[in-house]
Symmetry: C2
Subunit: 200 residues, 2 copies
Amino acid sequence: MNKGLKIVLSGPSGSGKGTIVKELIKDEQFLLSISATTRSTRQGEEEGVHYFFKTREEFEGMIAQNELLEYAEFCGNYYGTPKAFIENSVKNGKDVILEIEVEGAMQIKKIYPDAVFIFVVPPSLTELENRLVGRNTEAREVIEQRLARAKEELALYTQYDYVVVNDRLVEAIDEIKCIVRAEKLKSSFYGQKIENVIQN
Amino acid sequence: MNKGLKIVLSGPSGSGKGTIVKELIKDEQFLLSISATTRSTRQGEEEGVHYFFKTREEFEGMIAQNELLEYAEFCGNYYGTPKAFIENSVKNGKDVILEIEVEGAMQIKKIYPDAVFIFVVPPSLTELENRLVGRNTEAREVIEQRLARAKEELALYTQYDYVVVNDRLVEAIDEIKCIVRAEKLKSSFYGQKIENVIQN
């Protein structure tokens, strides 16, 4: 069994990374990292599919045992990313996607330096503005703030391994699949396979 | 105009790298590096297509001016790889392929550390033996030598960026094209493009 990859997919708000992830996980090669939370289960949510549901005590135990990649408290509930699910899935040959905001991605780099960091960007700031306006859910002021933040975040592209421009969705997905394939052809990923060539 | 890549394609004798190169250059994105030589033109050979034909004086001038990536003298004639053709082609957006023996590849790494180094390997040593025997051109002793050498060369895989197993030709070519595509999505390759996103 060849191990899988940890893939950190990040990008400014409005870059369309969420849509990309939804499409990618239709391919069973990919798994989306599942969060743990202390909030109560909502209708239709399943344990181990949408979330790992934990009591406050259990969650704090995970924090104490350093079992979380990152966590935060939000509206009185904990949310966090369990390492075990990611690491077991990778061991089982799955490529695990972590969809994370730019700030969080930089933190994960310290814990998983071997992860593949992909930065999803909009084709232009003008297009990003159009998308944010098109959502029709936010006040002009909020959109301006998001644009300013996106501009700041875009400057961080050198922190990522790859940059994918999300202009046409199909092409962006194709590019990400190509990146994953190429990463698995890297010589650093290759020890066992070359042994097979030599021994056979 | 986005610049192209320098691609060093190397591998043990019998790995099939020559066949792969012939297929790749059917795609006009790719150009094969053209050698310079002092030997006389043979029927059907064209200047700047098969070789750059040089007088001895011209060739030695190129050596003196450090215009060659590498060169060797063979049967009284010089053969070498002019840097100018490679660098101009890359500037013009072409991906230039250098098909080189393992020993030569390691030398080129010192001059072009930014090149993409791809190691083409046979699926197994048994299969390599079958291929060498199948050629039916070499004595058993020579085949044994080649196999021993291939085994030594395979151990150098960590010196390359990528390893492609040439089991099925179509798949190997597909993998190489995927590597090239992914390389161009690297953030280190991306400065101008992200500027376009920010400015527009």
